[in-house]
Assembly symmetry: C2
Homo-oligomer: 255 residues x 2
DNA sequence: CGGCAAATTGAAGTATTTCAACGTCGGTGG
DNA sequence: CCACCGACGTTGAAATACTTCAATTTGCCG
């Protein structure tokens, strides 16, 4: 594994990572003892498809994507993971997707056997793993709902809402400057096109269609401002999915 | 809950259901003591969206679908579940989707509190739950991969492959008569259209396009024969996902 | 400043949606 | 038993959206 990613130190700050806060000290000590922190550059592959993963990882910083290279050469992106998300298969089984960094990323890794041993000894850790998996399942389902829209603009609107709601607070992609809601798009147009099951050209047109209708402002390709949140939610469908409390907090601060 | 579904008896046959086989006898006895078997008719709703589910269920027979009614009146189907699949949230949290029967279905239900208590007492049961969730996650990811195809015929081909591979053996939807591979489509065209993110008209055209190209034969709308499996897999992309061993067994028996 | 990668725009071809009409099957009631 | 009805599937034709390929612009880095 040492040929991929740079080992950047031991487990400094592990206990600060959201899923680990609140674990008992002795367990944290055991986790830190077997933990390595590594960093990856943009596009670097962390795990290959069909590889038998020998470690379990948690994202400390940045964003990872789960992808699959299709037989016809197309790349499908089936998931994005942010700070605090777990990756790698906890139980045996080959990985059906590759995992790669989107931008700079840092991860904590644990040897899988040791991690699973700890899992059987500490119910708290087992529960943490279970919650991580349930979290992934929710994300996958939300994603499917977005993909269910026919029009690219609708899928894009859904993605922007997801960015606000799910990833906004954790990865600081959504923020409020000067009582305006700004979003950072953490992917290139090409990657996002794969994610939204379309092509970069269509995606670009969709961005500009939203801008022409006054729903967003494109400051740069990666920095947009949301002008009409409710219109975006209408486009995306299934408003309720995008409307949990902490998102409404964000919105209410627009004054 | 008694207004929904008919109570059809106690837990006869629970130990025969795939995920439960191999559990220790004492645990099975405890499970049977708190278990109820219920049956549902086509279209009947088993759990409402946003409801706090008070039970955990396992499908004994038939097929359930996970769906969501969009604000604009569209119905999105985000998952199909068959015999042996678990549903309901194991840990707290509202349900984001409704669950309804597709055709006749029978389920085993357990009061959630009692089930979770057993879960903490029996690691075997906890592991069973974990595996069920991982199974759902795999299904969701496969589904996303299929939805990622642009063309309706490609998504349909992917669905047909999924029918063979994932659900064929468990729900008897795929069978071999007279050395021909036959498939039962367990959904109406309208439902399948929701599932494949398209409309019934386009779906119908896709079925007939596959038939015109000789990949399938439409005996009735719900009974098709597969003529050219490898061409279907090419269309669906990501062959490897559709090619695990027991599926190849099925294929090899075509001789 | 030049060069490269990424994003955008244009134009033509293709696929899908939409609306409308028609056919088929199964059941219900005369 | 047959006629009718409704639900569902299929087909047709026009409108729309998307893909594809090519050309152009933009922004960034050496």
């Amino acid at each position: 594994m040492d040929n991929r990613g740079n080992r950047t130190g031991q487990a400094d700050g592990l206990k600060m990572l959201h899923p680990f806060t609140g674990l008992p000290e002795p367990l944290l000590a055991e986790l830190e003892a077997i933990c390595t922190r590594r960093s990856y550059a943009h596009g670097q592959v962390i795990a290959e498809e069909m590889e038998h993963l020998t470690f379990v990882g948690f994202i400390a910083k940045g964003m990872l994507r789960m992808q699959k290279l299709q037989a016809d050469g197309r790349l499908s992106i089936v998931g994005l993971m942010v700070e605090g998300d777990m990756f790698g298969r906890v139980f045996n089984g080959p990985l059906h997707f590759s995992i790669a960094a989107t931008g700079e990323a840092e991860v904590y890794t644990f040897p899988r056997d040791a991690f699973e041993t700890l899992t059987t000894e500490w119910p708290e850790l087992e529960r943490l793993v279970m919650l991580s998996i349930l979290n992934e399942l929710d994300a996958a389902r939300e994603w499917m709902l977005i993909l269910t829209n026919y029009r690219v603009t609708e899928r894009l609107a859904g993605f922007l809402m997801l960015l606000c709601r799910r990833w906004g607070n954790v990865a600081n992609l959504a923020r409020i400057d000067d009582s305006r809601l700004s979003l950072t798009i953490p992917l290139s147009r090409a990657d996002l096109a794969h994610f939204l099951a379309t092509r970069p050209e269509s995606l670009s047109r969709a961005f500009h269609a939203l801008a022409d209708d006054g729903l967003i402002v494109l400051r740069t390709p990666y920095d947009i401002e949301i002008q009409d949140l409710s219109a975006l939610m209408d486009l995306a469908g299934s408003e309720d999915l995008f409307m949990p409390s902490h998102f409404m907090d964000l919105v209410s601060r627009l004054s």
